[in-house]
Symmetry: C2
């Protein structure tokens, strides 16, 4: 699996070249981040949120460029690892070619963004030139964005039947990957269209085997009956499984792990030992299924403002209010519910606590349960254009009684709901990146197969240069997104990588929008038909930039804020 | 309606500045087009299609950049016309500010595209510099892409309740526009969601008034009972009506005019006087509705390869074969059908003729009619993700007898089917641009209203810089697309503008994808809900780059080919 190199340079030298080019771009970003920091520091030397809001456009562009350049860095490492793993040879490996192309495009994109308002980014002509206009950089970018290179890669990928660059996983993970890939192909894919078009609940034929395969216990330690080696994290495993299931269907399989993961993390972070022992083994084997009731109708990504009220009564709490976008809320037998236990105004997120609210499981688009313990919980699925299969509910709490034992962390957990939310969602971003990668892989496979089958103007689609260029860019973008995700997963396994998880979420989700759009375009009119899977991939991918941290919130409030705060 | 100018320069001087910057970009494009031409000329001095195929990527980029720069030129003219119409004043008019911003962005985008593979575009460093790196250009682009300018415009638009820049229509067209705008708001919009979600046929409450308003006779001369002043074209009128109806709904109103227009144009181009007198008055008042059966399952934009067979029999022809994507084919009482009347291989499009095939009208998703004259015609709607309301059918012709009188042009029309197809579709591209403009306007209005209503992190969405920037770019892109469309419509009324119609189709449709995506993003989670109109606008807009000349075919086979052929 190697491409002929047009250059006689050694591949490792080329990667060094790429590194130096990427480094220069990173340097420009750093300069700009420092500049914005200098404008937003208030008198006490701290970053002012309101001042930062005056620089949202440049902040957004810096966040996105940082994500792209971080991905480019990952690709350089990946290329190095490939050569280490596969041994030295004269020709470049496919993965090295992809890395070079990706770096060239990432730097070119960053250059374009910064050049549009160079002065606002605080870059002098000289600084900009040093970063992007040296012979070293210009030559590199021109060479690795050459049409001929893209065409060569496109042709190569076309002959691979949708097989892509090496995933570079160790043997354990590779076995895991293959088994979930097979499950996705054999079980999920044949059912996905029907589930989407008829807006059905995911059927037992998918749910049951996944429970048996241990999917719901991936983030639960062995001592609580889960699959996680005690005392270790396995983000990479969760990523690999999520990606493969999302290749089958984002909605009908790829998002099932999200909710037990959130609950497990929240329980591990804040639960009493008794709560852990009670809940974790149940969650690990989906007895019951679970869901998350955090978002409220008036508050999306803005957790601190939540209003659902919990009032203390004898032996427990009574909950009143509404939640929304509670995905899988019908099927779930327990809802992780964020509630305001202290109504004092001004407390903000410090007045919030977390409850485990039990309810009967049901399959339809609506439910209404009079609870044994008191109160009524009801829900109505919000019809959405895609991401169907789990149903996302508006949920109404009407005097719902929750015993003291179900307050997360017991009395010590009072006021810590926001913290537990953060702990629960800490894997959400990287997982969403993995979901995007799975959707991309599925769309990419369809783009490849259609390019081979379909004839236009007397030639198969895949003979045309523009098709080959699209396929090459898809392969490059998808590989970068996947490897970036894996690398962040590995970082997270070491207890690091929260910022990187945000970067890769931003990057992967936008990439999946572009890739699914192009895969659809390759299908022509058929791409717009419901029977073509690409139409569903395109619609499903669209949700990724909206949920788990909307693109803008993520870019501005999380990424840019932190990058600027930590700038020199 | 004027913005404060940050510059003390006179607005007319600024527009001159913009013109000179845009001209330089055009000059670079011309240089590049000539260069590609020099590479693709064969020995006989003619452009070689197969050589041109080796430059598809740069051809695509040149086509898109040409469209953007042509739009920028239009915006300069628009700014001049605004000042002429409204009189001189010290401050810049809103429309002038929008024009300046649009020009800056168009030049910046073109620069970015060309810089990625400058050598492949055949631009020397010096040529590139002259076009994009002079002080004149750099200063202009930086100044009019400034965040503060975008924010100022965004705020201004936010206060306008979705009202946009001046349409600059004459009184007649403005009255026409307002009446269809009202109809779209009052009658179409309230029904659009239901039609989409339940995939219904457009109801009589929409169809009947539109027939009465003369919609179906817009391209039919008065002497044939239509609304067109004899001997004149009125593309602009058709554009204005189409845009306003598409604002109501692309699928449930905005595309109704397309089919009678195609039939009228084909009949006017090729029909015998008897055929014109028989059919045109009927079509003008939708008695019957009509549809177009051109595309075949194996041939999308590739008309010359069509296979549906017409065999000569006594008194007529017998048709056998299949058509696809026959939109409105169920409701239609007559299908304009392209068939192969001469089976001789190698004749290509010269073996094709056009028939008017009568059939009963029906409302469902399927039909099957045994025809009085002989044969069976049947159809099945292809479920699509959007563009619902008219239903697009696979149509099967099983020994369908068509009398000689229904061969378009009579015996003289034999072999001219391809020519009549082209004549019929000559208005399709500009009309599709108008449809894109209508969808953009609708999405834009929702983006504005949601930005005013919704609060996030304690502030209304419209207070945030990033929202304002999005709204400003939406306003700028949409205004450019609309004015570009109008200007091409006026050109077409003078019998010119076919190339420009392709440029504006390419530009408007891609713009509508971006704009609807951003409008959706502004809505956060609600943007993904079916009850939010923006989710439908996003899905509907997606079809625009696929039909009426798929983006790639249009860019490569029509635009780039012709631009390169005509390059110096």
């Amino acid at each position: 699996m190697s491409l002929d190199m047009s250059s006689s340079q050694k591949a490792s030298d080329l990667i060094s070249h790429a590194r130096s080019v990427v480094e220069q771009a990173q340097h420009a970003l750093n300069t700009s981040l420092s500049y914005i920091k200098s404008l937003c520091i208030n008198e006490s030397g701290r970053l002012s949120g309101s001042k930062l809001d005056e620089y949202q456009l440049v902040s957004y562009e810096l966040a996105y460029s940082s994500a792209e350049i971080a991905a480019a860095n990952t690709m350089c490492n990946y290329a190095t690892q490939i050569r280490e793993a596969k041994g030295d040879q004269d020709n470049a490996y496919l993965e090295e070619e992809i890395a070079l192309m990706f770096c060239a495009e990432a730097v070119q994109n960053t250059r374009s963004r910064l050049s549009a308002r160079q002065n606002e980014f605080g870059l002098s002509t000289e600084q900009f030139s040093t970063a992007f206009e040296t012979d070293n950089t210009v030559k590199f970018c021109q060479e690795y964005q050459q049409t001929s290179k893209l065409v060569e890669l496109g042709n190569f990928m076309l002959d691979q039947d949708g097989r892509t660059a090496d995933y570079l996983l160790d043997e354990d993970k590779e076995i895991m990957r293959e088994s979930f890939q097979r499950f996705a192909s054999d079980v999920v894919m044949p059912k996905a269209e029907h589930i989407h078009r008829d807006d059905l609940m995911i059927p037992d034929e998918i749910l049951k085997p996944l429970v048996e395969m241990g999917c719901f216990g991936l983030s639960i330690p062995e001592k609580y009956d889960g699959l996680l080696v005690d005392g270790k994290e396995d983000n990479l495993g969760m990523i690999v499984v999520t990606e493969e299931l999302s290749r089958g269907s984002l909605a009908a399989a790829g998002s099932l792990i999200t909710r037990p993961e959130i609950l497990s993390r929240a329980l591990l972070a804040g639960g009493t030992e008794e709560q852990k022992q009670h809940w974790l083994p149940k969650l690990a084997w989906a007895e019951p299924f679970c869901a998350v009731a955090i978002t409220e109708p008036d508050f999306g990504s803005d957790v601190a403002g939540m209003k659902l009220k919990a009032e203390k009564v004898d032996g427990g709490w009574v909950l009143n209010g509404a939640k929304t976008w509670c995905t899988f809320g019908g099927k779930a037998g327990v809802l992780l519910t964020l509630a305001r236990t202290n109504p004092e105004p001004g407390l903000g997120h410090k007045g919030l606590s977390m409850f485990l609210v039990e309810k009967p499981s049901s399959d339809g688009h609506e439910f209404r349960h009079e609870l044994e313990r008191g109160g009524v919980i009801s829900g109505k699925a919000i019809p959405t254009i895609g991401y169907r299969g789990m149903h996302s509910f508006d949920v109404f709490f009407d005097n719902v009684f929750v015993p003291d034992s179900h307050l997360l962390g017991g009395e010590a957990g009072l006021g810590k709901g926001f913290y537990y939310t953060m702990a629960g969602f800490s894997g959400g971003r990287i997982q969403t990146a993995a979901r995007a990668n799975g959707v991309m892989q599925a769309a990419y496979e369809k783009a490849i197969s259609y390019s081979k089958e379909r004839k236009v103007f007397g030639q198969r689609l895949g003979n045309y240069q523009l098709t080959l260029v699209k396929l090459a860019r898809m392969a490059s973008l998808m590989t970068a997104s996947r490897q970036f995700t894996y690398s962040v997963g590995r970082l997270m396994d070491e207890g690091k990588g929260q910022m990187e998880a945000s970067l890769v979420k931003l990057f992967a989700c936008k990439s999946s929008e572009w890739l699914t759009r192009e895969a659809m375009q390759i299908h022509g009119g058929m791409g717009y038909a419901e029977e073509s899977a690409v139409s569903r991939y395109w619609i499903d991918a669209r949700v990724l930039s909206i949920f788990e941290g909307a693109e803008e919130t993520l870019a501005l409030k999380v990424i840019a804020r932190s990058l600027i705060e930590n700038a020199a």
